[in-house]
């Protein structure tokens, strides 16, 4: 049995998800025979593409309780986050609003957007979070002032999976006329999200975290009351002037199809993943009782776990588990193997942060994979610790 030639078990669903075959199937004709530019209204090729894009827009809107007109297609969640944060700040600056609030644990692209605003003279408050990874609404309230234009709070965290209390945050923002943006790249289609109930003004959506392809995402922009933002890409005026550029019809179709699948299967899938997560957690804790779970144990994505194994550096552990596709944090920065700023913000000491592993479960994860992962991780951790002790003992003599 050639164990070595088997592809590794994929446990990195927060980095990216495989394209669902059903999604791919819907997309394919739009690459080849139906290739029109959705902006070409003068002929059938263009009109068919435009219709397909609008269908996808409606599918995505339905998943999050929005109107189709409130969806702006983008090239991905990073672009959506940039557009929401910089766009809102720039639009409202002439009205005396120059202060932006975000959590210290936001995704890199939210933090970098804030840095860009700071360079332009905006004030930015990065709020600390609790040990659980959750924001304390009272602390957030204290950070708001009459010049705050926007608060950005991630719906579900990419590293530790925690789900922030968005409705509570919205209740603080709305009466003050402050826009609330949420990076929901990890949350959309994984947990029920309804923009109206939550009171969100702007919400970023990613295709490739939702079993749709890479290179497409969306920004929800509330219409009533209208969330006003400045465009970041000017041009042909596509997407109601908020985001110019030819829309990639097949990718939009893919995102729409993925949204429709998520809408139909979300409850069942979340339940199943929750079961797998609990099974994996119990399995790991039974074998490695000193393993530490980072982030709130309950208020987190069904498909996310983040462990620290004391004394076992993450790069060593990943190297010792070639049969598992794991990561030590967000993919954007996972090539840079330094302790996660997210875990630091939770107050996790550097040695434990450097020993943290993110496990992402998803649509195609199975109980067998989960059991195999627990076993593989546990034996690798034990082996590395023994080697470490041997080395330490050798060093002591």
């Amino acid at each position: 049995m050639s164990e070595r030639n088997r592809p590794p078990v994929y446990l990195d669903y927060q980095a990216t998800t495989p394209c669902d075959p059903r999604v791919l199937e819907e997309m394919l004709p739009w690459f080849t025979e139906k290739f029109g530019n959705p902006g070409s209204v003068t002929h059938d090729y263009g009109r068919a593409a435009a219709d397909a894009v609008e269908r996808a827009r409606a599918q995505l809107a339905a998943l999050i309780g929005a109107e189709p007109r409130e969806i702006v297609f983008t090239s991905g969640a990073t672009e959506s986050n940039n557009l929401a944060i910089k766009g809102a700040a720039q639009f409202h600056r002439p009205f005396g609003r120059d202060h932006v609030v975000a959590l210290a644990t936001e995704h890199k692209c939210v933090l970098e957007s804030c840095v860009a605003l700071e360079r332009q003279g905006f004030r930015v408050t990065l709020l600390p979070v609790e040990r659980s990874g959750l924001v304390d609404p009272a602390r957030l309230e204290a950070a708001l002032d009459e010049r705050t234009v926007l608060v950005s709070v991630m719906a579900a965290h990419n590293e530790i999976g925690v789900l922030q209390p968005l409705a509570a945050v919205a209740a603080l923002c709305r009466p003050r006329g402050i826009l609330l943006h949420s990076d929901a790249a990890q949350a959309v289609g994984k947990i029920p999200l309804d923009v109206a109930t939550l009171g969100l003004d702007l919400m970023s959506i990613s295709g490739h975290k939702l079993y749709a392809p890479k290179g497409v995402g969306a920004l929800y922009v509330r219409r009533r009351p209208r969330a006003r933002i400045a465009p970041s890409i000017d041009g042909g005026g596509q997407e109601r002037g908020l985001r110019s550029g030819t829309l990639p019809t097949p990718l939009c179709v893919g995102l729409g199809a993925a949204a429709a699948i998520a809408a139909a299967e979300l409850d069942e899938e979340a339940e199943r993943l929750l079961g797998l997560r609990r099974r994996l957690l119990a399995n790991v804790m039974a074998r490695l009782p000193d393993a530490m779970l980072n982030g709130d144990p309950e208020r987190r994505l069904p498909g996310n776990l983040n462990f620290s194994f004391p004394g076992v550096p993450a790069p060593d552990l990943m190297a010792a588990c070639p049969a598992l596709a794991l990561s030590s944090g967000s993919a954007c920065t996972s090539a840079v193997l330094e302790p996660s700023y997210v875990l630091r913000a939770l107050g996790v000491p550097d040695d434990l942060a450097a020993a943290s592993i993110r496990i992402g479960l998803g649509r195609f994860s199975t109980p067998e994979e989960v059991d195999f992962a627990a076993e593989t991780l546990a034996s690798a951790v034990r082996r590395l610790r023994e080697q470490g002790m041997t080395r330490a003992a050798a060093g002591a003599t």
Binding site: P7, D12, T16, C19, L24, L28, T32, G36, N37, G39, S40, V41, T42, H43, D44, Y45, G46, T74, S75, G76, A77, T78, E79, N81, N82, H107, K108, C109, E112, A116, S206, H208, P213, K214, G215, V216, S232, I233, D234, G235, G236, G237, E239, G241, S244, G245, T246, L247, P248, P250, L251, M318, A325, L326, S327, A331, C332, T333, S334, A335
Partner: protein
Amino acid sequence: MAATRSTYLDWNATAPLLPAVAEAMADAFRHCGNASSVHRWGRAARGAIEAARREVAVLAGVDEDEITFTGGGSEANQTALRGFPGRRVVVSALEHDSVRAGIAPGDIVPARPGGCIDLAALERMLAADPRPVLVSLMLANNETGAVQPVADAARIAHARGALLHTDAVQAAGRIALDRAALGADLITLSAHKIGGPQGVGALIASPDLPLVPLIAGGGQERGRRAGTENVVAIVGFGVAARAGRERIGDQDRIARLRDEAERRLVAMAPDARVFAAEAPRLANTLAIAMPGVPAATQVMALDLAGVMVSAGAACSSGKVRPSAVLAAMGVPLEIADCAIRISLGWSSGAADIDRLVEAWGALYARTRVKAA
């Protein structure tokens, strides 16, 4: 009601995916990793992206580390234009909306009636203002196909310490690109105009240029464009770039087809007006006006006959707007309103030209009888 065989003559709006591109993309869909992930799937994605980067670099005659993949041509243009906050941005009157949008009239370089930029005006504008400048001049115009004197503009710009950006979205794969010969500091490319997929493009710029990213975040593309790389589309772009390079030779055949179309249309309609006819032109593009017949009417009549063309740029509004390009060339509004764009590509053939000529000729005859 779709006609039995459709004649697609709107290649400047978008080109159908090349079969080889579709194949490569289908293959890439199977290793769907995040290119920044360290594990095997991540590394496969990274390798595929870098291979595509090499192909695009060769197409443009540049080094690989000058290529930044973006979400498309519009994003690449905006990245270039907004990337140098201290510089005044001066653009030609012929530019695509994604370059010209929001530019003050005083910063727009006028065009000449022949379809090319007025270089003397550019020189005057740069001389009159000591501020550092970024000049943007497209390599080939999307509506008329007129190839712009980018190398001359670059010399003028550089003599004044200005940078030069060129939107080569329409030129790529149709005329040879050589960054050194063009003298451009920044170049925009788009995949879907050369048989690659929609949703990916590239901005070419030396790594030494202090370009402020439009999309900040995870540091992908060496900090110039954050966001998980659109692996599958980038793979498609790479294959299309190689095909585009190899297909430059096909332009003679396409030029003959275009010239034949032009000759036959003008022979039928002596009052027809061809734009930028005297300028160096892309082989595939024909902008022509049938005086007295609104472009929308022509486009619809052709559409009913199964011939797809456009009335200028494929933009968002769904409305047929008067062409800013033709206006900049001094074409009177009543003629510009009657201009359509016919653009050919690698699968266009003589039968397509016959259908175009037949349908357009029939409309012309109808309207002239009515007028008489």
